[in-house]
């Protein structure tokens, strides 16, 4: 064979494994055994997991009381905006047949309130909430400034629509004595929210820091007066505000309102008996066909009493096992038709 001229040799691709498509590799093979093994193990795992999840969800206790329309005539009163300064309170009794053991959490639940609307989610100013610049109101349309161009603090539609009902749980020790159940209003938020994402401008007097700004239109008090009882729960660090600003993903959601303070009568939880909710009804929901309720709940290692995950796992596990048996049967029937291996 004659030698090829030099310029021809330079055009040859390299004789490396990469360029000659001869890299060492292993092939993915799905043999029948492996497929059936995958189906069997997945089925068994999912079935066990589903049963464990359903059992633990059953162990929680939850009570939900819908008070949209059962609270005196407050619903009708709040449908008219000019009644904003008229206070409306009511007391809703209920009975706990079983003791709620352990930690008990109180939530307020809203139905039909879309915190996941596109323009609603955008309407906030994180720069303002982190305390860098209280007058930064760029993204907060339509609640940027008030009529005389004073910046609103906290600006935006999310903050403006904050849930402002007051709910107090009372316990009837006997027919004549009623005591307030002690609830903690701290520890309701994520640690990163409370200490990093939301910060007050400084530790000095908050009223001074927020001078030159105004409160959102729907709020009764400015931000530095949100909690008159606990001075540390004011400004951007108010736990109710932080909980509300964490917008929900779906139109039905519940947000933490308080945790049971396990002292005195309530060391082991909420004893059985008759209770009542004393509610100051401020938040209007009937105008958009929404509903609101209070929820008392205990929790387990995987959250509340939602059976969805347990059911889904059980169904998946059962289906996978059935499919494995069916495929094994099909394979055995067709085995004698010279289909011993299948390709990928």
């Amino acid at each position: 064979m004659e030698e090829m001229p030099q310029h021809r040799l330079s055009r040859l691709p390299d004789n490396s494994a990469l360029k000659q498509q001869k890299l060492p590799a292993h092939r993915l093979h799905f043999t029948t055994t492996r497929v059936l093994f995958v189906f069997f193990t997945t089925g068994i795992f999912c079935l066990c997991m589903g049963i464990i999840l359903m059992l633990s969800a059953r162990r929680t206790q939850e009570i939900e009381i819908n008070y949209t329309r059962t609270c005196a005539n407050c619903a009708k009163l709040r449908e008219t905006a000019s009644n904003f300064d008229k206070e409306c309170t009511c007391s809703i009794p209920f009975y706990l047949s079983e003791k709620m053991k352990g930690k008990v959490y109180m939530y307020y639940k809203l139905h039909g309130f879309h915190q996941n609307l596109y323009r609603y989610i955008r309407s906030r100013s994180n720069r303002q909430l982190v305390g860098k610049d209280v007058k930064a109101v760029e993204n907060c349309y339509p609640f940027k400034t008030s009529n005389n161009d004073t910046p609103i603090v906290p600006c935006g539609a999310i903050a403006n629509s904050m849930f402002n009902d007051t709910i107090i749980l009372s316990y009837n020790i006997n027919s004549s004595v009623q005591i307030k159940v002690p609830m903690l209003k701290t520890g309701l938020t994520w640690w990163t929210d409370k200490y990093i994402k939301f910060q007050n401008p400084s530790l000095k007097n908050l009223a001074d820091e927020f001078r030159g700004t105004t409160k959102p239109p729907n709020w009764p008090n400015p931000i530095y007066e949100l909690d008159k009882k606990d001075p540390r729960n004011n400004g951007f660090l108010n736990e109710d505000l932080i909980v509300w600003m964490r917008t929900a993903a779906f139109p039905t959601f519940k947000k933490l309102y308080g945790r049971l303070n396990q002292t005195h009568h309530f060391i082991e939880g909420l004893p059985a008996g008759s209770y009542s909710f004393n509610i100051t009804y401020n938040f209007p929901v009937t105008r958009f066909q929404g509903e609101k309720s209070v929820v008392l709940s205990t929790l387990t290692w995987c959250g509340g009493n939602s059976l969805f995950l347990g059911l889904a796992y059980t169904v998946t596990g059962a289906t996978a096992l059935l499919a494995a048996f069916a495929m094994k049967a099909i394979h055995m029937m067709l085995k004698n038709k010279q289909m011993s291996f299948f390709h990928q």
Partner: protein
Amino acid sequence: MLNSDFAFSQFHHLQRLLLVHGRWSYNRMCKFLSYFFYKNFTFTLVHFWYAFFNGFSAQTVYETWFITCYNLVYTSLPVLGMSLFDQDVNDTWSLRFPELYEPGQDNLYFNKKEFVKCLMQGIYSSFVLFFVPMGTLCNTERNDGKDISDYQSFSLVVQTSLIWVVTMQIALRTTYWTIINHIFIWGSLGFYFCMSLFLYSDGLCLAFPDVFQFLGVVRNTMNQPQMLLSIILSVVLCMLPMIGYQFLKPLFWPISVDKVFDRIQACRLPRQSPAKTRLKHSSSRRCAYAFSHEHGFGALITSGKTMKFRMSKKRTLFQKGRGPREIPKEAVSARSPTHAT
């Protein structure tokens, strides 16, 4: 078959070009197309389901930076690796069995029907990827009572489930795993987690609070068991039907090359490609006896007589105990220049 222009110096190069590289190229192209459509349908159709719950306000399920990085960095390298290196059978077998070239001629691996299958699979995957996290998070809290059903946690769960599902899908569709495929696939997955930790870290979110808004979501969400269980369930529900379909398809809807693949599988045990000398002695290795004394079918293919003799060639290859007399005379007498294959 894919309308490319090549120039080469000798005709015998055509055999390798068509049967090996052309065939691989067609297979890779079809796999690439079907995977790419599937991954983007899955990604986008989640928003269709979410529209029913967000008042049709076009709120995205994912975070904006995830949408930016999804096609660019999280899913581009694995499919690139598959498109460059994937081989269903190696070059020796491709040359031994020219029938493997038929799917390309019949447009079998990517046509309207296959596209509709991608679409259906994408719709199903998006359905699972939306409703499983929704059902998990709708009425749940963290185990310390705090919020987990918020928009940012939901977004993170759907994103993570999506990345796991599409990565597992490309891992399933890649049949030829070189070291580069491993790096691309598992590296992309690892890169997603690193990027998430970076984008949701304190430093970045505090420096640009209105641009990076998901501060602390990974830390507060990913240590909850219901989130991890939701991701596992989504992956299981998306992958098992696909594996089952791959298993059942050659049994119920076989195509012509399935027999060839079975034959190759049978010949592969023990794990050696059959050398010409061995096959003369082994009577059970029907697959390659016909080649024991042939130059190869290069001349036959290039002469254009392949089509006419296709039927007889098949009968010869797959029947027991027939002698070389059955080979068409033209093939026996044709002289093709020898070359190492």
